[in-house]
Amino acid sequence: MRQLRYVLAALAAGVFSTAGHAQSTEPITIGVSIAQSPPGSVVQGTQVKDGVEIIAKILNDGGGVLGRPLKIVYEDNQGIPEKGRAAVEKLISRDKVVALTGGHQSSVCLAEIDVAHRYKVPYINTNCWSDDIRTKGYPEVFNPGNYNTRVSSAMAETIAALKVKNVVAFAENTDYGIGQAKVLAEFLKKMAPDTNYKYVALDRAGKDFTPAVLPLRANPPDMVVNIMLPPAAYILMNQLYEQGVAPSAKTWFYDGAGIADYPDFWQNVKEAGKYMLAFGLYHPQMPMPELGQKVAKIYQEQAKHEPNRLIFQAADSVLLIARAIEQAKSTDSAAMIKALQDMQFEGVRGKFSFSKEPGYGFQQWVDIPYVTYQLTEVNQPLSKTTLIQATGQPLQTDKLVKPSN
């Protein structure tokens, strides 16, 4: 009888040690909620996915995180807030993800972070610009991407430097679009008080913006600002060009949505994109750490075209989660959040830490680098565009060119 007990005890020990071993090599699951079908920005969603895949492979090839491989679970939110909320709910409760990332449309992010906050799961905001995401002050939400205040401040600086008097912005009717248009107004009041500024809200699902463009023909402004995402942004650009409003000898066209480096940009805008002035979060002439260069090289080999900012932002989002797990030595949410709050992170775009100041800078990479550049030829690759403002450098407006008519 005693012998039987020893045998059973030995068997039980074996079983539990095997289970323990399985636990330690079990994949770490990360949830990624992106738009993979319309009406969301599928172009953005695909770029985010590409960046996530590249960095996950790099990490897994290097032995994973705490010796465990990363497993990415994707959910399609279609760019619809309700779907985003459901996607995150499913990722947390069914897929048991340790953290969430991928968000690239502000309205969706705003819906998703409420769920992440409720479950107290870390949420790395990849590319949602709305300041409202930061001002909510959720401790679970970290923002390594761009934000409306940053881009509006940069744009106001450019507008002031160009000494333009009348500016019209076309903003999509979303949290991101309206939010950025309003923040730009505030910055212009301070930085270019003599500038007359107004914004027009347009439906992001719209196909004909001519009625909004026509009034500008009779009285063209000095600058038209784009605060819309594709495909609506492309349609707007073509209709502005067709009506001779912008870009023209009189009117600058300034993109504040960062659309110039999208892979389908030139196919959709052609001549309408020439002479466009652009705010950018990535340019091949920006300094980049070795890991960032590696990500860029892999992407270029896979996609056969230059990477854009979303590739790097997505890579950094996953890398942040990986580093948080490593520092916390666990996948416990509270420990990961604490690690992220105190972390000095070195990612694919450089070194940064998250601000603790409340407001738009809460848990934000406040000094995220940006550039300003101009497209001077149709089908121009990003590397050939004219850099008007390098990272942290003053604007060189003398480099700008305007069309002759």
Binding site: P38, N173, K207, T210, P211, N238, Q243
Partner: protein, 296 residues
């Protein structure tokens, strides 16, 4: 000057709406059902035109009739496979006509959107223009050569359709079937063929509308949803089943939206048609060109 600009732009948009709406109106006129996949006929035309000309290097002028043929083919297949149970010998199935038509066309719509999304991809792609002139002045108006050509083609097609319905033998048969399906059948008219012609014509018109607008709207799989909604509004405003009514309502809607967007608010642009629709339903429920009728 702005008012004139808006009026011309509204008329051009109205012409595109009309191309879409008359097909829907014809189907309702002859079958008394609403085709919820009509927007996807438009999407098929836009994609066929864009993909054929961009990927195969075919001239846009040649891609246009191919796109029309694709629209006609999908119209024919829809009628042949999905709609025919409504009126030929499937009585024993116990079909409820209206419910069947809603379910089957709505299902087709979802199928086509998702099929194109998965097979071709969700990215918008801009179709090539019929003219290389990207912008030009015609008196006080600015427009692209493509827009000018498409406006002209839309007028030709609408007039051609009106003549076809009014003067041709098939057109008269369609009118007869629309008035009284059983009576037309007793008079020896092949009602199934008339229905088939209507579906093919509807597919052709919607596909041409999609193709003509491909350089403007940058086709994506869901591109047909909005024009289809507009078409439903137009068909009701014009009078269910009335082709002239649909054309006039489309032009009115185009101009109304154009002016409303500037003089009222751009934010509510898509609601102006709905307001007009409510007013019509309140004061003239049969629509602008519709006739009051009752069945006994």
């Amino acid at each position: 000057m702005l008012a004139l600009d808006l009026f011309v732009n509204g008329l051009i948009i109205g012409l595109y709406y009309a191309l879409m709406a008359v097909g829907l109106s014809m189907i309702f006129g002859i079958l008394k059902v609403v085709n919820f996949a009509h927007g996807e006929f438009y999407m098929v035309g836009a994609y066929a035109y864009t993909l054929i000309s961009l990927n195969l290097g075919v001239s846009p002028w040649l891609a246009l009739p191919i796109a029309a043929a694709a629209g006609g083919a999908i119209g024919w297949l829809t009628e042949r496979w999905l709609m025919r149970p409504l009126y030929t010998g499937y009585g024993s199935w116990g079909l409820m006509k209206d419910e069947y038509a809603v379910v089957v066309t709505f299902g087709l719509s979802l199928l086509l959107i998702n099929l194109f999304d998965k097979v071709i991809g969700p990215y918008p792609m801009r179709g090539p223009a019929l003219s290389d002139v990207t912008r030009m002045s015609i008196g006080p108006f600015m427009m692209s050569g493509h827009k000018l050509i498409t406006a002209g083609l839309a007028i030709v097609l609408i007039v051609g359709l009106a003549l076809f319905i009014k003067r041709s033998l098939w057109g008269r048969q369609i009118q007869a079937v629309a008035q009284n399906r059983l009576g037309a059948s007793i008079a020896g008219i092949d009602t199934a063929r008339a229905s088939c012609i209507v579906f093919v014509a509807s597919g052709v018109l919607a596909a041409i509308a999609g193709a003509l607008l491909a350089p403007v709207i940058n086709p994506a799989p869901d591109v047909g949803i909005f024009p289809a909604i507009k078409s439903y509004v137009i068909v009701v405003i014009g009078g269910m089943g009335s082709i002239p009514g649909s054309i006039v309502a489309a032009l009115i809607l185009g101009v109304l939206e154009s002016f409303g967007a500037v003089y009222l608010s751009y934010d509510y642009r898509d609601t102006y048609g709905l307001v007009l629709l409510i007013l019509i339903l309140l004061f003239r429920p049969q629509g602008l060109f519709g006739e009051r009728s009752r069945e006994v």
